[in-house]
Symmetry: C2
Subunit: 217 residues, 2 copies
């Protein structure tokens, strides 16, 4: 059955790969599943047809036959559960990989989202300059904890998993702030993720949408 | 095998059930699994023994034989996957229930956490009064979308699931703000969750820890 995902007609980041469809594209590339993309404009995202698919009016969504899903974490998990390559076979290792997926989305990403909001939406407010160091320090606390856990390992728990896919994707949002580079092992971890052929294909595909040029190679 | 979870020795909310161990207790009560609780002080949470279990120095954790997990979403999912009662048998319905778990934690809870942070940590800052309406409105946007999707249904997608357990738990954190009551169907949805016998047992058990009195009944 054909898999169809949605993505921004024009990503707010201009193709830096930070929109959440990149995470789903990456997962599909890791497991070798072809997919189609339906592009959605900002206006269409808030209209009834898209809201029926995604109650929060966002991308990505995932359709496969009668199944319609939203929420990046759930879509990546669905892909990981049905195809080999993103979750270990051992039951305990599998539960720990799922733990890292939730940790990326529920514990590491929220302070990063706060930072993104502070920079994008509150930058012209009177409190912005004073408040920013607080918000940045909350991100540093989380990254420090993650950095200590990762140590000099390649991935968070043994082989690359959906947990690493999600954590690297979440951390990528921080690169422009410079905070990621304060933690050398985390910066290397993210670079290690970006070096995967599946990530490169996913990145190139989203870039092609945003530049109007077909992916090379 | 014995299940052992961790909880605050003294919950910051004094026993209102908002600490995340309540979510795990609720899941265990729904599926009828007995469990033990190890209480952890704020100081011990940041020490090596606990950090080995939970890299972010939080509660709850979950131990069962050789398996050690952290992250509430992952623990609730692990429980739901292994015992009947929290996920539907039909594959598509199951994927949608998991979607609501991720939606609760990744889409609905982050703006609620921002509100909690603004109230608890930034309330004495010069910008607090001016900024609060912005933060509250971000919560209202999400709740409005969720309210429209829920409509007059009892639960988010058919029968009660781990997705409802997580969403109701996330929304409970808003009750004190008054914002939950602005959305009558969401307030009723949360009350519906609280009325479940399994929730009551979970709530009473965490309350007993915080009042030093054994649960009644």
């Amino acid at each position: 059955m054909t898999i169809t995902i949605t993505a921004f007609e024009r990503s707010p980041d201009g193709g830096k790969g930070l929109a959440r469809d990149t995470r789903v594209r990456w997962a599909l590339e890791e497991v070798g599943q072809p997919y189609q993309v339906r592009l959605v404009s900002f206006r269409a995202m808030k209209e009834p047809a898209h809201l029926a698919l995604h109650p929060f009016g966002q991308i990505p969504t995932y359709e496969e036959g009668d199944l319609a899903l939203f929420e990046t974490g759930a879509i990546v998990f669905h892909i990981a559960e049905r195809h080999a390559g993103l979750l270990p076979g051992d039951a305990s290792a599998r539960a720990r990989a799922i733990t890292w997926m939730f940790a990326a989305l529920s514990t590491v990403e929220p302070p990063i989202l706060e930072l993104v909001t502070a920079r994008l939406i509150e930058s012209d407010r009177s409190w912005s300059a004073q408040r920013m160091p607080l918000v940045e320090d909350r991100v540093r606390v989380r990254l420090g904890q993650l950095s200590r856990r990762l140590g000099d390992a390649d991935w968070l728990d043994g082989a690359f998993s959906a947990g690493d896919l999600m954590m690297a994707s979440v951390l990528l949002r921080l690169r422009a702030s410079g905070i990621l580079d304060e933690f050398a092992n985390l910066a290397a971890y993210v670079a290690h993720g970006e070096a995967r052929p599946a990530y490169k294909r996913a990145f190139d595909a989203q870039l092609a949408v945003n530049t109007g040029k077909p992916p090379t190679g």
